[in-house]
């Protein structure tokens, strides 16, 4: 009963907070090392890519477009959910995720990569894009 009418039960907690350093990480000034296996931004080591389309097929959000003929690998980072399924299933292990997140953007953007494995293609029309 006596416990029931006690107010200010929070006081020890707030006083502890008051007299100790704040828990705040002053982010832009003070950054923390990310944990080792964080699933961050997705990249493709395009020179190793064989354009097998496994990643495109396995991707749950269908953000990867691979053109086997043109040897292009394209990923919409704004659709990607950073689940890592493509990385796990990549037969060549040429896909990898950085530990960092992609930076915010003001415009929509697309990761477009052009590789050159077997077939040589004219590059002009791709450059224009």
């Amino acid at each position: 009963m006596t416990e029931g009418i006690i107010v200010f039960n929070m006081t020890p907690n707030v006083l502890r907070n008051f007299f100790s350093k704040s828990a705040t990480r002053l982010y832009p000034k003070e950054t923390r090392e990310t944990f080792g296996n964080v699933r961050g931004e997705l990249y493709n080591k395009i020179e190793a890519c064989i354009f097998c389309r496994t990643c495109a097929r396995k991707c749950p959000s269908q953000c990867i477009t691979v053109d086997t003929k043109e040897a292009t690998w394209q990923c919409d980072p704004f659709v990607c959910v950073y689940c890592g399924v493509c990385v796990e299933n990549c037969p060549k292990k040429c896909l990898y995720q950085k530990n960092e997140y992609r930076k915010p953007a003001i415009e929509k953007e697309v990761i477009f990569m052009k590789g050159e494995i077997k077939k040589e293609k004219t590059e002009e029309d791709q450059q224009e894009k």
Binding site: V7, F8, N9, V14, N17, F18, S22, T24
Partner: protein, 283 residues
């Protein structure tokens, strides 16, 4: 005359600056109590300046009118305070502002604003008798409602009005819109009423209301300071400690409901005031 002019200037110019600073310090301290880093102490000034730069957006033109009257009344009450005028008069002038704020909130049809206005009225209803009785206590000690008389006292009022001071602190909590009594609006709007009666004020008009609130904070802390007006140290210690307590209370209590407030503050607050007054009366 010159002294009067200086006091008026202090009231008009310094009071809001002080009020803004108090608000900033309040936010910083609250952050520390919550283990946060907190905004810079001059954050409130940035907020208000930014609001002045925003687009004017109104729901009902009367809101604008009411915001201006609010700030005028708040300013006038502070000026009257610095001119060491009559306490009751100050309260009534302050009430003009409070009432017009409510009227402004009523003038917009948003249910949040309306409910907030109703609640604000309940809060006014709750704190007004307490403040009036505190003034009566001051009168019984000093024989006058004038602040100038209070300042002539040689003994701190707190010694003879301890319970009334506590009752006044209830009013202070309500007026500062601090937990557990922040029903009608709150600075951190995670509550059932969004921003309560301030929901429909925006941009420059919200800035006016904010500045008016600073005036009111200064006024009510000034009223607290009267209880130890014999020395500057007394004033600083008393007001500082009171404000610190308010922040602490804000951080260690859940928001209650207004029904609870009405019952609790009226019974406990009025009983304490009454006991103190009877004691004074019997002396």
């Amino acid at each position: 005359m010159i002294r009067g002019a200086i006091l008026v200037t202090i009231g008009v110019v310094v009071a809001p600056l002080l009020g803004g600073l108090i608000a900033g310090v309040d936010r910083r301290l609250t952050a520390w109590f919550q283990s946060r880093y907190g905004p810079p102490v001059w954050q409130p000034f940035f907020d208000v300046m930014k609001l002045f730069g925003k687009e004017k957006l109104v729901v009902n033109g009367w809101q604008v009118f009411c915001a201006y009257i609010y700030i005028t009344a708040a300013m006038l009450s502070v000026v009257l305070f610095f001119l060491q005028s009559d306490l009751l008069l100050i309260l009534f002038v302050q009430a003009v502002g409070a009432i017009f704020l409510v009227i402004g909130a009523f003038s917009a049809t948003s249910p949040y604003s309306q409910v907030g206005a109703n609640r604000e009225l309940i809060q006014i209803l709750t704190y007004e008798p307490l403040i009036i009785l505190a003034f009566v206590g001051i009168y019984l000690v000093t024989g006058s409602f004038k602040i100038s008389q209070v300042l002539l006292q040689t003994k701190p009022l707190l010694a003879s009005l301890p319970l009334l001071y506590i009752a006044l602190c209830y009013a202070l909590t309500i007026k500062l819109r601090k937990s557990p009594f922040d029903f009608s609006t709150s600075h951190h709007a995670h509550q059932e009423l969004v921003k309560g009666f301030l929901t429909e004020y925006s941009g420059p008009y919200l800035a006016l209301v904010e500045i008016g609130h600073w005036y009111e904070v200064v006024l009510i802390l000034g009223l607290c300071s009267l209880f130890w007006a014999t020395s500057w140290i007394g004033i600083i210690v008393l007001v500082g400690l009171t404000y610190l307590c308010e922040i602490l209370i804000d951080n260690t209590m859940a928001r209650m409901t207004w029904r609870w407030m009405l019952g609790y503050v009226w019974t406990i607050g009025l009983a304490m005031s009454f006991v103190n007054l009877i004691w004074l009366h019997g002396r």
